[in-house]
């Protein structure tokens, strides 16, 4: 067996454990990002000024600063305010809040792109504002949210590596450790890059499937 394969097989269990944590981080972050995208995206369109300002402030702060700075801030600064969180919690929180600030603009854009006639038909049928939003508008907007959301989720996956810098033992952290112990940089980092790439491909595949599934029957070109 070629030596690099032997080496990879020997280190695989460690890398696998790191990968599992990376995936957990990504899934947690994605879940939070979806919630924040919807909350802030809808909140930015709210008629209540303070709510709108709050959402704008959130979006601008998290889009305007660096993800790593956010992570360090949450991990190192929050304890001084009496809030202590684990590395994993800090990771999920920052990944979700960061991606959510980008997702909020996607949500807002997609909702505003739903034709006015859909709101009017919903009013004529006497739906409540909440029913209008969740039964009529959001289901139509979701289809056009999916492709840009897929891009945001891949950026989120890439950002999970930042948690290595606050010593969470996810994939990149494990790889760095193996490298420091064995000095076999090329093999380890190439293997890890391929693993990230594979997860990214999975995310893309899931998003494409969801898009296909949700757009059955929808003719996105014609008059509605």
């Amino acid at each position: 067996m070629p030596p690099f394969l032997e080496f990879l097989i020997a280190t695989f269990p460690m890398l696998w454990r790191g990968l599992v944590i990376t995936i957990q981080l990504a899934l947690g972050g994605i879940a939070l990002a979806i919630v924040m995208s919807l909350a802030a995206g809808l909140g930015k369109m709210s008629k209540i000024p303070p709510l709108r300002w709050l959402c704008i402030a959130y979006i601008e702060v998290f889009r305007g600063t660096s993800a790593l700075v956010q992570l360090f801030w949450f991990y190192f600064v929050l304890p001084f305010f009496g809030v202590s969180i684990t590395e994993f919690q800090a990771g999920v929180l920052v990944l979700g809040l960061n991606a959510g600030s980008y997702g909020a603009e996607v949500v807002r854009g997609a909702i505003q792109a739903v034709p006015r006639g859909q709101y009017e038909a919903a009013i004529a049928l006497n739906f409540t504002p909440m029913q209008r939003l969740w039964r009529i508008i959001v289901p139509q907007a979701v289809v056009s949210m999916l492709p840009p959301m897929g891009t945001i989720f891949i950026e989120l996956l890439k950002n999970t590596a930042l948690a290595a810098l606050i010593t969470l033992n996810e994939l990149t952290f494990v790889a760095k450790q193996i490298r420091d112990d064995t000095q076999r940089t090329t093999e380890v980092f190439l293997a890890v890059l391929v693993m990230y790439f594979a997860v990214a491909l999975c995310i893309t595949a899931v998003m494409r499937t969801a898009e296909w599934w949700l757009s059955r029957g929808l003719d996105r070109g014609g008059v509605r």
Binding site: E60, G64, S66, Q70, F80, F81, A161, A200
Partner: protein, 224 residues
Amino acid sequence: MEWDWALTWEILPELARAFRVTVAATIIGFSMALVGGLVLTILRRSPFRIISWPANFIVEFVRSTPLLVQLYFFYFVFPVEIPDMGGIFTSAFITGVLALALHYSSYTSEVYRAGIDAVPKGQWEAAAALNMSGGRTWTSVILPQAIPPILPALGNYLIAMFKDTPLLYAITVVELLTTAYQIGSARFQYVEAFTIVGVLFLIVSLMSAWLIRRMERWTALPSH
């Protein structure tokens, strides 16, 4: 928790010096990414699959994997060794800038591609009808039309790269975040240093975003 103003004034000059490193990395890295992306785009459009396919793969792969791992890879596998000049241009700095440039080449390549695809097919045909050479077609017909509309998108990636420079912390480049971290851990007072860094990023990002919005108005071609 009280904000320490004395400390703030004390550390600001140090952070300002470090900020120059951040800005230098961004400007050099992005200039290289502008060229690198163009090269990748041209390779991807090659009629020979043996050239276009690897170029496509590189763009996809680099875009879907973490910058941090790519930084480690460069730092440990292809470190740039230069004699220490005592300024900001250390070996680690150069290595880091190269990794940033490669990573963002994959983004700028996508932007160029979109810009080129948006040039109507008739323009290529008109150039061919006028018997222009391939190089002349690119420089006097295609690029002058393709570039102005994509300037805002390129600007957004410039901001994105700026926000990614703190990752150079991982390979010991003494930029803004590294300096803040050193200040914070030396005095065990993280709040001021990290918050100032966050605010600095926010100010620069908001100002640049505003500039880009103005640019969008200049670069919108009259007839499109």
